[in-house]
Symmetry: C2
Subunit: 185 residues, 2 copies
């Protein structure tokens, strides 16, 4: 699974083969097939969220409306910062951009696990809470892409703590008491 995560993160879903994963891991491809099945099965096992959904939910539901921006930002930026989890996070995001199946996996995870549990902790109607959370998450996905994949400077080399300090209060705007759109209307 470590070899699979490294391969999916480095080469993306399309260019990764079970053969190359088996080779990296020093085992026979038949063994990978035997234990995991298809490439899609290997992917699903490899990009298992690097922390348990239970932990994510506990942190985010505890954050509440006022702490949501900081908690979401700190959580995702740190996840991509830690070498142990960066591979899985980037593999998930990169694959989601090109693979319908992986996009579906990410959509399912965000929609069914994350939003379903977090939305009720915000003081808005369900639809409104979901939209705000999606806008906040979209910013964080963009930050991970620009920082770790496109590697645009100076963002790519900025310390994680500085990124969190700048992004968290901006994202928090989505969880303020009044709709952010009120500024424009």
């Amino acid at each position: 699974l470590a070899a699979a995560r490294a391969a999916f993160a480095a080469r993306g879903y399309d260019r990764t083969t079970i053969r190359s994963i088996a080779s990296d891991a020093g085992v026979d491809p038949a063994l990978v097939h035997h234990y995991f099945g298809t490439k899609a099965d290997v992917f699903a096992a490899a990009v298992q969220y690097p922390v348990s959904p239970g932990d994510i939910l506990a942190r985010l539901t505890a954050a509440g409306q006022d702490g949501m921006g900081a908690e979401l930002t700190g959580f995702l930026v740190q996840l991509a910062e830690d070498p142990a989890s960066r591979g899985s996070v980037l593999a998930l995001v990169r694959s989601a951009v090109v693979e319908d199946e992986a996009a579906g996996m990410l959509r399912e995870f965000i929609s069914r696990v994350l939003l379903t549990a977090i939305a009720p902790t915000l003081p808005f109607p369900e639809h409104e809470s979901r939209l705000r959370l999606e806008l906040a998450v979209s910013h964080l996905i963009g930050v991970l892409l620009v920082r770790h994949v496109v590697r645009l400077e100076p963002l790519a080399s900025a310390p994680a703590a500085e990124v969190v300090a700048r992004v968290a209060p901006v994202i928090q705007q989505y969880f303020g008491p009044r709709p952010p759109s009120s500024v424009a209307t």
Copy 2:
């Protein structure tokens, strides 16, 4: 080029061949080679920014500090909304996530064209202006991905005008007079 844009947008860089582009366009692959060269050359020609860099720069430099959030947001959201330009925009972003060459192209475009011209219109040191612009652009790239690729609801179906009205004032935080990080320090 229309066939190439459609192919790169739908299948990504890796799975698109000159043969398939030629077939979609009803011409001989040799003709494509003759006029454009390699697949990378076809890509470069196909993902030509759907509006001229000159137009982008004129709009953004005219926006100034107070109008930057609204102008950046309105520009990119509308670009992805218009069926005529959505293909090129998404092809660029999708390919940048998996292809080092395409990531390099996007990095070059944002860094050398966009940031070099826009950063001096903001009242911050160059490094600070670039970092703020990159954070703003990262949010917009994330919105395009979540809205048009991952297609997370309700964001995927929200009217473009509503997306702009919600996102623009949030992004504008990056261009306010005080560093957004001052909230956290």
